[in-house]
Amino acid sequence: MKPARATAWVLTVGGFLGLLAALALTIERIELLQDASYVPSCSLNPVLSCGTVMTTEQAALFGFPNPIIGIVAFTVVLVTGVLTLARIALPHWYWLGLTLGTLLGAVFVHWLIYESLYVIGALCPYCMVVWAVTMPILVVALSQLVGNSRVGGLFVEWRWTILAVWYAVVIAAIGIRFSDYWATLVP
């Protein structure tokens, strides 16, 4: 199956934004290491606070800061997107690898969402960019992988609906968890 144009664009834009966010998080982490009193550019208040989130154990699950994984992974996604935009056909096994990798990434991201909301109790804007791009990247990678089969075709047909509902669930969870904070923003 030839990749849809939308697939190529989602991979390119998603990979690019994810890469930017991972770079920003890594750079902020280094700044924070050099100067413990450094306030990250995305620490705005007690709820929106990269500093709170970045310094937790969860932010370095494998012993080094998570965004380093993001720099490598989103680079692959970005390159795949650019190749697909250039209409270069990639073999089925390549899409399998990309989908499996993104699936692992999505599992990791959802664990981080859970920890951020219910354990750490703060949101980190750059991390949320990563959350937001991981979902569509998984959806389009999986579409490309399974698009030829009957069930897969159904998934491809409904992929934007699935993505929209998926976003809605995450946004609702954030809305509920920090509802008293959002309420303070409304005069």
């Binding site: 709170t52 609702a172 509920i176 509802s179 309420a183």
Partner: protein, 241 residues
């Protein structure tokens, strides 16, 4: 019509049919998405509003001042030092370590009274709303035994939990109060039930609206002390007399 053009016409009809199908399918997908998202939004709003309803009622304590403060020392002192603090705030712990003894001394010789106003602005820094639970415990202790409050207060900052953790458990809060000498049958339930959580929320709101932007905020007869070190405090108190 030649065979060729017939085929072309068929293909064109098929393509149009395909477009139509795709159009209606897109509409169905949009509809399903809209219904599901609306459902999620409704559920979300109902949970959120239920959460905020929980903080609408609650007991009003009697041992506090009109401003929701716990007054230590001579009730009618000429000079009142007000300390707005959050039990989760590291700077408040530093303030207590640095100037706590000075305030106790000045209170003991009836120079001043100290109004401690515990507020909860750092609930996000723990997974258990420690700020609110600790401030609630402060009012529980004040209601139960005012005499034990200063040593309880000191112990709370000595055992302040790290930010980003789970805070102290209710049992640990009860243990600190009991160690400080509070002996009341209602203490445990007051802490466990969060009897004054709503009162703390209201006090926090009022204090923030009055212009306090952080903790600790220390003021002498209403004037904020920029340098709340022991010397800075003594100077400000002397000036206020």
């Amino acid at each position: 019509m030649s065979n060729n053009s017939k085929k072309k016409a068929q293909a064109a009809t098929a393509a149009m049919q395909g477009k139509k199908d795709r159009g209606s399918r897109t509409l169905i997908q949009l509809g399903v998405a809209a219904v599901l998202i609306a459902l999620i939004a409704v559920i979300g709003f109902s949970i959120a509003s239920k959460n905020s309803d929980d903080t609408a009622t609650g007991a009003t304590p009697s041992a506090v001042t009109a401003d929701g403060a716990i007054r230590i020392g001579e009730p009618d002192a000429d000079v009142v030092v007000t300390v707005v603090e959050d039990f989760q705030c590291p700077a408040c712990k530093q303030f207590e370590a640095l100037s706590g003894d000075t305030l106790s001394e000045l209170t003991a010789d009836n120079t001043i009274a100290v109004d401690y106003t515990p507020i909860s602005i750092l609930d996000r820094a723990s997974s258990t709303n420690y700020s609110t639970r600790a401030a609630n415990a402060g009012i529980c202790v004040a209601e139960a035994d005012m005499a034990a409050w200063p040593s309880w207060h000191e112990a709370m900052f000595a055992q302040q939990p790290a930010e980003g953790g789970a805070g102290l458990s209710d049992d640990e809060l009860i243990a600190i109060a009991e160690t400080a000498g509070v002996d009341s049958s209602e203490l445990a339930s007051c802490i466990t039930d969060g009897s004054y959580n709503d009162f703390v929320a209201t006090t926090t709101q009022t204090v923030l609206e009055s212009g306090v932007t952080g903790t600790p905020t220390v003021s002498v007869n209403g004037t904020v002390v920029a340098n709340p070190s022991p010397d800075g405090l003594r100077t400000a108190i002397a000036d206020a007399k």
